[in-house]
Symmetry: C2
Subunit: 287 residues, 2 copies
């Protein structure tokens, strides 16, 4: 049982992890060993105190070397669900599960708006996770929307299973070599079906599919965490970064604008302190 699970390796997650580590806490940190594609892609960051006019890559390198010096590990896994188990939270990553007394959600914000039909058919033909659900579509026809080149390996995995993949990449120069992948440029307009997703509409074109994969860098927090209250598309938090769920805190872009590194770093720090306070207040009642 971990004291805390941090979900997300952007600036907010980095800040929370450094604080928990400095306090010698027992935590697990889910995300990418490369931290955040958004950070790496940033051209020039002029207003982050301490790092003078850095590129996104330089900031990423500074964060990575600091994490290494502090001996902090990143669990390179995609969280697919967080469930309230009463005394703790259960965190699912594909088929693995973890337990933590508190959760800090620092999962960022997806710049791509949900597709019409996405939430309606989620779990019924629509999936966010290639490694979780890919096997269900062995020998089938699927549509894939991919928001980032960093997720291209998931397309390759899906292509190795499916008979046919209609790929809509939202990034430049896709490099997928599988013969069964057909690029459908533009954007998915709508996912349609009766009881499950059956077809995808792109402008005038409609393609019949067995499933749809939406490969995004950030999953809508309320989809990830059952029962999480949202407000204007962001996680609803107070000044202490508490959400409506006891023991679940949120930090960074997922809590709202401004989408800034400094703001994310500040919130990661506060969320970590709030989690520590929650842990000490609930120390007696927990296992």
């Amino acid at each position: 049982m971990f004291d805390t699970a941090i979900i997300g390796t952007g600036a907010a997650g980095v800040s929370a992890a450094l604080t928990l580590k400095a306090m010698n806490r027992n935590f697990i940190w889910f995300g990418s060993a490369r931290l955040s594609e958004k950070i790496a892609r940033a051209e020039k960051i002029r207003n982050y105190p301490g790092l003078s006019s850095v590129s996104g890559e330089e900031m990423q390198r500074a964060f990575l070397s600091q994490i290494e010096e502090m001996d902090i590990e990143i669990a390179n896994k995609t969280v697919t669900g967080v469930y309230d188990m009463g005394e703790y939270y259960g965190i699912l990553c594909d088929k693995e599960s973890f337990e933590a007394k508190t959760v800090i959600l620092a999962s960022g914000v997806e710049s791509v708006k949900p597709v019409k039909g996405e939430l309606e058919f989620l779990g019924r033909g629509v999936s966010y996770c290639a490694t979780c659900d890919g096997f269900l579509y062995k020998g089938k026809t699927i549509a894939v929307l991919c928001t980032s080149k960093a997720l291209e390996h998931e397309i390759s995995y899906l292509a190795s299973l499916a008979k046919k993949v209609y790929l809509t990449p939202l990034y430049k120069t896709p490099e997928i070599e599988a013969e069964n992948v057909e690029i459908v440029p533009g954007m998915i307009r709508e996912i349609v079906g009766e009881r499950k997703a059956e077809a995808v509409r792109y402008g005038e074109r409609e393609l019949l599919v067995d499933g749809v994969f939406l490969l995004k860098e950030a999953i809508t927090p309320s989809v990830l965490v059952t029962g999480l209250a949202m407000e204007d598309g962001h996680v609803k938090v107070n000044r202490q970064l508490e959400t409506n769920l006891k023991g679940v805190f949120a930090a960074g872009d997922c809590t709202g604008r401004p989408y800034q590194y400094a703001k994310a770093v500040g919130e990661g720090n506060v969320a970590a302190h709030s989690a520590l306070e929650y842990l000490s207040e609930n120390a007696s009642s927990k296992a």
Copy 2:
């Protein structure tokens, strides 16, 4: 007329200034050319993302060189009052005054609790500002409480005017050479008087004085800004760092715990964005 006045040169002030500068805004920044004594004194900061296990001095140097590179100036002045003038705020520094449409209060938190009688006699024998009020005590007897070695030059100034100075330094190795300065160790317990401050009590000892100077690194925000709402000893703010006064924002330690660099930096950023938003919404109605 400035768009914004930032008060305070700690981590929150630095963050707000960098953001306003990056947005090319016309602002004035009040504080110390050395930034913050609290930062400089910090032994080791292990959880500030981007600066790996830095000393306070190293963080201070990083901030200072960044400010220089961005060509940001600090007005090395002590703000003694902020007044709502309807369409703008008037900011007093000793005998100079400035005008700004918005104010970002990043004045830190004073670790020294108010002395009994301090607020009661403020302006009636009790002063926070040697350069503002020192002249009133020419040839008189005064008590001085000083919280930081960085403020020692103010003691020297007072000693050059007063007949007698009872000095209570709250730092190690005071270096005041004036013959009319007598060190009274310990702490001022109470300031007493009828209509104005007339005596100071230290433990069992009581000394008659004409005035009392409390030289602190941070002034209680509600004393600085007339009408500012407080909550549990801190400035009351919402998630956007808005105070109860329109156009006045607060950031950093003055808004509450955790007293952390990352939190201060995050809030400075958010306060700057909130000020920018306020300015754009009120652009038409302002001069």
